[in-house]
């Protein structure tokens, strides 16, 4: 099927619906690409397959319960969700957490960023067929997961935050272990950055692909590494510094190319900056208490603030009506506004074969989004592909462009048999 599509029907329009169940992206989302020959002319998305009604559920739970609830909005950036919610609750209650707790929150956030970016690096490489890189980066991600497990007792949903502070202290022994692991990670990350910058095949698949200019990104409201890869100076840790970043500032990483390669470079360089930040802050972490008393009932009022999650700005709007339960908790995740950039701008005009990597390039998170965008054209002849088929199509297409016949060497068949 794959080969036929490459060879024939150059002028005919096809709609290629993908998902919602597709084994490669691991999360449910439904995309429909309208293609003319090779080129995508329209794209849409629909989310909602993992909609769990968290915002509604939050209204019938206590402030402490909601903290643990929102940590489960996302399995990757659970600390970012917890921090964003609880700092609003603390602002409403009018309490200031101790400096040591603030800094521990910041360190936990940066460890989380390391694991999220390494996870993404693996997934994005896999979508492009660079499976060795996928396996190595996920192996190295395990080191970060070990750090989280040793420190907070859990690999995901580690609940660093409690209302009014943090749960665990950073001991000198833990700091020592952490430094050794960070040294190793830094070496590995240098290697990945070399691959991204120098590897010919990797560059062929990423340079000048999915490019979006600074102006358009600004207009579409892109955020996080996706925005910074186009030179937009937008980083909540710098713009509206929150817990920890107001005491010890962090540097913003920028790139001005705006293409897929720049998104790799920015994320990898952010990992270096996170490592530097953790090392620096471990040296001068302030002494003192870990938490202050948090009231059961919070005065009526409202608060809104953001944190810089690994994917970008995570915004929380919290209202209190003076009872034990929040009146309204509104969550705006980073993936959602970055979808807009992909759907309305980046996808169009690119080859269908580049779609897996372009989509992965914004680091989409479905349980965060929990919304779906529809890319349905009006033409008939729709052909249903799974994400895996699209991924293989992309890899085969580029291999054939380089003169390799992938089906001859039998790697894919071998993999399927296993």
């Amino acid at each position: 099927m794959t080969d036929n599509l490459i060879d024939s029907n150059k002028s005919q329009k096809y709609i290629v619906p993908i998902g919602p169940q597709h084994p490669a992206l691991k999360e449910p989302g439904h995309f429909e690409f309208t293609v003319e020959g090779e080129i995508v002319v329209d794209a849409s998305i629909r989310l909602g397959y993992v909609h769990r009604g968290v915002e509604k559920a939050a209204e019938s739970r206590t402030w402490t319960q909601v903290l643990y609830l929102v940590e489960r909005v996302c399995g990757i950036c659970s600390h970012a969700h917890g921090t964003a919610f609880i700092q609003n609750a603390e602002a409403l209650a009018g309490i200031e957490i101790p400096p040591r707790a603030k800094v521990i929150r910041a360190i936990a956030g940066e460890i989380e960023r390391l694991h999220s970016h390494l996870l993404w690096l693996g997934v994005a490489a896999h979508e492009g067929g660079f499976d060795a890189m996928f396996m190595y980066s996920w192996r190295d991600r395990e080191i970060v997961m070990d750090i989280l497990e040793n420190f907070f007792g859990n690999r995901v949903n580690y609940s660093v935050n409690i209302p009014g502070g943090v749960k665990e202290d950073i001991t000198p022994e833990f700091a020592e272990q952490l430094r050794i692991k960070l040294d190793f990670l830094e070496k590995r990350l240098k290697h990945y950055l070399d691959v991204v910058n120098d590897d010919v095949t990797f560059r062929a698949r990423t340079v000048n692909i999915g490019t979006l200019g600074k102006e358009e990104m600004t207009r579409l409201g892109a955020t996080g590494p996706t925005a910074r890869s186009a030179g937009i100076t937008r980083d909540i840790r710098v713009d509206r510094p929150y817990s920890g970043f107001d005491i010890y500032p962090i540097n913003m990483i920028l790139d001005d190319h705006g293409d897929l390669n720049a998104r790799f470079v920015v994320r990898l360089k952010e990992c270096f900056e996170s490592i530097r930040y953790i090392r620096d802050v471990l040296e001068k972490i302030p002494e003192g208490e870990l938490s202050v008393k948090f009231p059961r009932k919070i005065p009526a009022g409202e608060s809104m603030s953001s944190v810089e999650a690994p994917r970008g700005e995570l915004f929380y709007f919290v209202r209190s009506n003076g009872t034990e339960n929040p009146d309204r908790v509104k969550v705006r995740t980073a993936s959602l506004c970055n979808w807009g950039t992909i759907v309305s701008a980046v996808a169009k005009g690119h080859k269908l074969a580049d779609m897996p990597m372009i989509l992965a390039g914004i680091d989409p998170c479905f349980s965060c989004n929990d919304r779906m965008v529809n890319i349905v054209g009006k033409e008939k002849n729709a052909q249903l592909w799974t994400w895996e088929q699209l991924r293989k199509y992309g890899i085969n297409y580029h291999a054939m462009q380089e003169g390799f016949n992938v089906s001859d060497c039998g790697i894919e068949q071998l993999r399927e048999e296993k």
């Binding site: 629909r46 909602g48 909609h51 509206r240 603030s305 709007f317 705006r332």
Partner: protein
């Protein structure tokens, strides 16, 4: 601190001829709340957009009651600029939940408008995409789960059975 104040004053000046009330919240010094009439939302958003003030963070809605006890929907358009957040806010009575779209000014607002439509039953005049975003395709019409009056589908069992 003066920097923050400059941003806030800037936002206030752009909206001066539209705003009904301006509030500087005490618990967060980097925020400004500008209250406008429902029909002025589009003008207010356009004023900020034309002056390149910030970017639209999101649109939030919440179910509340007015001072005289009437149920109403609060609709908030959050804009982020540097260290500050500017919120344009309006109130829609429950029996007249209608507001103009801002998608012709900021295209990426479509997902936020779809969300308000779907979860709060706000009619958004001129919004380009009215398809379901979050709820299942067979969710009953006219049931808006984020309203305080919603406590669950009464015939949930039946509905689930039918959808199978």
């Amino acid at each position: 601190m003066t920097d923050i104040m400059n941003y806030l004053k800037e936002a206030e000046s752009y909206l001066s001829d539209i705003s009904e009330k301006v509030v500087y919240p005490e618990n967060q010094t980097n925020r400004i709340d500008v209250y406008v009439a429902p029909q002025d939302i589009k003008r207010a958003v356009k004023a900020l957009y034309d002056h390149h003030f910030g970017y639209l963070i999101t649109i939030s809605a919440y179910d509340t009651t007015s001072d005289d006890g009437k149920p109403q929907i609060g609709l908030v358009y959050h804009f982020g600029e540097g260290p500050t957040i500017c919120s344009i806010r309006t109130f829609l009575p429950h029996d007249h939940r209608i507001v103009d779209t801002i998608c012709d000014i900021i295209g990426s607002a479509t997902v936020y408008e779809r969300e308000c439509r779907e979860l709060f039953g706000i009619e958004i005049v001129g919004t380009p995409d009215k398809s379901k975003l979050l709820l299942p395709e067979d969710w009953p019409d006219g049931v808006y789960p984020m309203l305080k009056s919603f406590t669950g589908l009464t015939d949930a069992g039946k509905w689930q059975k039918e959808s199978k």
